[in-house]
Amino acid sequence: MDNLELPKETYKSIYKTMLRIRMVEEKIAELYPEQEMRCPVHLCIGQEAVAAGVCANLSRNDYVMSGHRSHGHYLAKGGDLKAMMAELYGKATGCCQGKGGSMHLVDLSAGFLGATPIVASTIPIAVGVAFGSMMRGQQRVTVIFFGDAAVEEGVFHESINFAVLKRLPVIFVCENNLYSVYSPLSVRQPEGREIVELAKGHGVESYQGDGNDVTQVYKMAEKAIRRARQGGGPTFLEFKTYRWREHCGPYYDNDLGYRTESEFQEWKQRCPIENLKKNLLRDDILCNQDIEDMASELEAEIEDAIIFAKESPFPEEQHLLEHIYAP
């Protein structure tokens, strides 16, 4: 979709969100070989439009949860960058005081309620958050992000069944990036059956869109979130997209042979950030100088966060046995 239908300010903010996620993750990829970030990292480079487009519709009071590939969701929801970087470095100043790492991000003040790396496992928890919010009479929407493999888990179906049963204000966002680690969809799901159709079988409003087109993502999420706020119940959104780098780690891995270089190049042509940038320049929403300024501002912020993370202290031994039980 080349037509820029959203307000200019919305586009500026969404573009910045996407660029910020991209630049943070590229910085992680650059520094990861130093072996100071000693935890698995799952980068979402190439998939930024889904996080940015969905979260642009949420307020701070709304909730977001995610799985193993959660950096983008955390940042798009307003998660603190310094706390995230410190967490990746295992520091006491991290968002989990070093006990979580990249796979367990949280920022309660931003409404990012947590990410955990067991496929589909946060889906029922997000449904429960929506259920609890409803029981407490709170007007909040909960968004749960997950990948294409999550719909192969029984708990996904159990969760969506309950969400429909109780008309819960929860949005299921499936980022279909075609692969689960190295396994393509073709070895995991029957050919010709779209994930969105599977969701429809549960009686939930379900839509499929281009996950690399942020306008489309934004508009579909906007409609779903409005419905949820008005008591219309859950919506399932499937966005097709593509992860550029390896499943886990900082590198490209097209040499492994589980996917082709041409497939990767094709998706790279559809880079959500480059495409939006082109259109923003074309429509004079941003000029080259604006974009350069934005990039250098982000670079400085990221640099600060890295320095903060590197200079922060590690947790002391006394914290090992702390927080086993809540008081």
Partner: protein, 363 residues
């Protein structure tokens, strides 16, 4: 100093059955705190989980006393999520075996959240599970898997024996800010005991001396406490004084009470409702071996289920479940007394697949 339980010194005027004590604990907690809610397969049905949830839906409505889809794993996640949103959920499983469908959420999620998010999140959640026994419950309606749960940091594991403790421990569990595995025993459901009317709490993490003795400590869990008390009676006729400890909370374990008792008796028998290999009984024996080896006059012994699945036919189940006589035989052996007579007493004509003659099945 052995703790003299306060409840024993009270006037035993008001008696309830175990399931009624559980029902009353839930009822009182729901009155006291509007964030408490309960769900489970069959919770509001006419049988009301063997009576333990009867009447609650009439009193608190279907939003707080809910049936649920047969989705144990997702509904555990839903409970966790609702706890994050400020609720205090209770989930009830009619059998421990059914809860195994939810182990992913219990172990990966509920147990870890407080720790792995640096203490920012808490999951107040009670997971009630009932152990079946006898009447052909067989391999998938009677498993005693408390050791699994007790292995996991972040979980608390409670196994009440008496109606008094069932109520007091359940109130404490509901008020606790952590996931609590609350394991009830079907054969305790009709036992009767003193239960005060008001809200009271039995603290988690405290065992209880249910019978004082000097010669041998019998540390028991759940239903095996009753067998241990019967065994202690039988041993007393032979002049052996057995001290019976009701473990009550498996995690966190009341180590000091066990060590104190073994320090006095010098002998330890652990009677657990579970299997032997990797069982919770091993944990208590190890505790004593590591912390009080020099107090021991004899090698500690275990009375547990044999290492095989639960057989269904009463003919085999009679050989499967250890009873008071097995504890007596173990204690006598430890004391250097003959066990011939005891072993011959094990053959009995009383049906062993029911807790008492009032139980006529089916579940």
């Amino acid at each position: 100093m052995l703790r003299k339980p306060q409840e024993e010194s009270q006037i035993m005027s008001r008696e309830l059955k175990y399931f009624q004590a559980i029902n009353e604990a839930i009822d009182l907690c729901m009155t006291k705190d509007a964030t408490v809610y309960i769900m489970g397969l069959g919770v509001p049905d006419p049988k009301g989980i063997f009576g333990s949830t009867l009447g609650l839906q009439q009193k608190y409505g279907s939003a707080r006393v809910m049936d649920m889809p047969a989705s144990e794993n997702a509904m555990t996640g839903v409970a966790i999520g609702s706890a994050l949103a400020g609720m205090r959920p209770i989930i009830t499983h009619q059998r421990v075996d059914f809860a195994l469908l939810a182990v992913e959420q219990i172990v990966n999620q509920a147990a870890n959240w407080h720790y792995m998010f640096g203490g920012q999140m808490r999951i107040p959640l009670v997971l009630r599970m009932i152990i079946g026994r006898g009447w052909g419950q067989g391999p998938q309606h009677s498993q005693n898997l408390q050791a699994w749960f007790a292995h996991v940091p972040g979980l608390k594991v409670v196994m009440p024996t008496t109606p008094y403790d069932a109520k007091g421990l359940l109130v404490s569990s509901i008020e606790d800010n952590n996931p609590v595995i609350f394991i009830e025993h079907r054969w305790l459901y009709n036992t009767i005991g003193h239960v005060p009317e008001e809200v009271y709490r039995v603290p988690l993490g405290k065992a209880r001396v249910t019978r004082d003795g000097n010669d041998v400590t019998i540390a028991a869990t759940s239903y095996m406490v009753l067998e241990a008390l019967r065994a202690a009676e039988m041993l007393a006729t032979d002049g052996i004084s057995a001290e019976v400890i009701d473990i009550r909370t498996l995690r966190p374990l009341d180590e000091s009470l066990i060590l104190e008792s073994v320090g006095k008796t010098g002998r330890l028998i652990v009677a657990d409702t579970g299997w032997k290999t990797g069982g919770f009984s091993a944990e208590i024996v190890t505790l004593v071996a590591e912390e009080a080896f020099s107090d021991l006059k004899n090698c500690p012994m275990r009375v547990t289920l044999p290492d095989c699945p639960t057989p269904t036919t009463p003919a085999l189940a009679n050989h499967y479940y250890p009873r008071a006589v097995h504890i007596v035989a173990t204690a006598r052996k430890m004391m250097g007394l003959s066990v011939d007579k005891i072993v011959s007493d094990m053959a009995t004509s009383v049906p062993l697949d029911v807790p008492d003659l009032s139980f006529t099945g089916p579940f």
